[in-house]
């Protein structure tokens, strides 16, 4: 069902957890569809210095969450904003078609977290 890379991220997810007093937090999904992803960011000079996630969801949901945290750590915010759900799925070597709709939301959660950071900073 899942390829090796997906299974690797599912089995050994990177950056699981929370960041206390995170600079930005983003959450997407709802329990109805079976996916809730929450991403925490730490930001310095518009660079993502730390990122963590918590996810309620299937193997694909956990793997995409893990993957997106790896992809953005150390990246500039505007670079991170360019990462799409599709890019996350591709970085994982692809996902089963049935999983593309509701599990592949990690980039959205990231974008929400960045927006949250920008909104907080603007205040």
């Amino acid at each position: 069902m899942y390829n090796e890379k997906v299974m690797d991220h599912f089995t050994n997810p990177r950056n699981v957890g929370e960041i206390k007093d995170a600079a930005g937090v983003g959450e997407v999904g709802n329990a109805k569809c079976g996916d809730i992803m929450r991403i925490y960011l730490q930001v310095e000079n518009d660079i993502i210095t730390d990122v963590k996630f918590k996810t309620f969801g299937c193997g694909a949901a956990i793997a995409t969450s893990s993957m997106v945290t790896e992809m953005v750590k150390g990246k500039k915010l505007d670079e991170a904003l360019e990462i799409s759900n599709q890019a996350v799925a591709e970085a994982l070597g692809g996902l089963p078609p049935a999983k593309m709709h509701c599990s592949n939301l990690a980039a959205d959660a990231l974008h929400e977290a960045i927006k949250d950071y920008i909104a907080k900073k603007g205040k």
Partner: protein
């Protein structure tokens, strides 16, 4: 790695004796039962003997058995067959909201053909209420189709009361007994069952074979057209190896039923007790007593079923879930939702279904690995501890 099969409601291992008999009817006694020559007669004889064995399993007569390709076809034949043959009497069918897709989607098809279908609700244990059934009956009702035992949560319906009511009202009663046959005693006379579906692969016969019991006198129309097989009720060369294997499996099921039930129930109760003791925030789904002997269905709050399954699979344990994510659909199990579970709780469900080949060591192994898996997934969950 050790592999533990805890998914007997999905399918079962074919019994060795059954498989070897099938092999014999594939490679040696391979005649077509419609042929008049000795190869044909030997196949015909085997088919008719198997029919007797299947009938004997639930106190039917051999000529009340129609062989099908499985449970789904039996369900399709029962519903469409009765609906089409009795259209003049009425167009109303009563079923439940927790049926297998083979019933549910066939009912939806019949609705498009002009039939009206009532889907009875269930209580929190997945039981229908007799009151609801009584109230649903109209003078247009031609068929009541209520599953014997539920495939997800194992709840066994009040079949005898339903049969009695249906008989009094002169309405045909069909039961999808795919999960019950071979796991629960059934007597179609005592229970007033008019039609009953079964599938071989759920009780150690092969996939690709099933049967529909149709009480003598029930008006049925065939749905697969062609040759005059199965008394014109199901066209197509008989699946002789499948049928012979089904007969053997029925014979074994009948012989071992009481012992099997006691054994599996023992294991299952140990498993449930262990889970409840070791893990917090767990709910047992399904009826506490009136349930299949091998079925345990839990909701582990705050986590999602597929991740749980995959983690168990990595430990060699095969189980199942009512999570949407295992099926590729958007909604979790319609059964769990019908029981009133919220989406989150339904998503975290795990079905463990035991069989006669399971051992106490396997249950111990399960109880050893499950707590840490649940704990790890919960530690990753945004719903837990917040």
């Amino acid at each position: 790695m050790k592999r533990v099969y805890f998914d007997h409601s999905a399918t079962t291992q074919v019994n060795r004796e059954v498989a070897e008999l099938m092999l014999e009817y594939m490679t040696e006694k391979y005649g077509n039962p419609s042929s008049v020559h000795s190869f044909g007669r030997e196949a015909r004889k085997a088919v008719e003997e198997a029919r007797e064995r299947i009938a004997a399993l639930f106190n039917a007569k051999p000529n009340e058995i129609i062989f099908t390709s499985g449970g789904t076809e039996a369900d399709n034949l029962a519903l469409k067959g009765v609906a089409l043959a009795n259209r003049k009497k009425g167009n109303h069918i009563i079923t439940t909201g927790i049926e297998h897709h083979a019933i549910m989607h066939t009912c939806e098809y019949l609705e498009k053909q002009g039939f009206t279908v009532t889907y009875l609700p269930v209580d929190e244990n997945a039981m229908i209420r007799m009151e609801d059934l009584k109230n649903a009956i109209t003078d247009k009702t031609i068929l009541i189709s209520i599953m014997f035992a539920n495939n997800e949560v194992g709840t066994i319906q009040p079949i005898k009361e339903i049969g009695q009511l249906a008989r009094e009202k002169g309405i045909y009663f069909h039961t999808d007994a795919v999960q019950a046959v071979g796991s629960h005693p059934i007597d179609v006379e005592e229970l007033n069952i008019d039609l009953l579906s079964l599938a071989g692969h759920k009780f150690h016969a092969s996939k690709g074979i099933g049967a529909l019991y149709v009480r003598r006198g029930v008006k049925l129309e065939e749905i697969q057209h062609g040759g005059a097989h199965e008394r014109n009720m199901r066209a197509g060369t008989e699946n002789v190896p499948g049928i012979v294997g089904l007969g053997k499996a029925a014979e074994l099921a009948k012989r071992d039923l009481d012992k099997k039930i006691a054994y599996i129930k023992g294991l299952r109760d140990k498993l449930i007790a262990g889970v409840m003791e070791k893990i917090p925030h767990v709910k047992l789904n399904g009826h506490p007593e009136s349930r299949l002997p091998g079925n345990a269905n839990f909701s582990f709050l705050y986590i999602e079923g597929e991740s749980l399954l995959l983690n168990l699979d990595m430990k060699g344990i095969a189980a199942s879930s009512g999570s949407a994510c295992t099926s590729g659909s958007l909604d979790p199990s319609h059964v769990l939702l019908a029981m009133g579970l919220t989406h989150e709780v339904a998503h975290g469900s795990l079905r463990v279904t035991l069989g006669q080949d399971n051992t106490e060591e396997e249950v111990d192994y399960f109880l050893e690995v499950i707590p840490e898996i649940v704990e790890r997934l919960r530690s990753m969950s945004p719903l837990y501890g917040s």
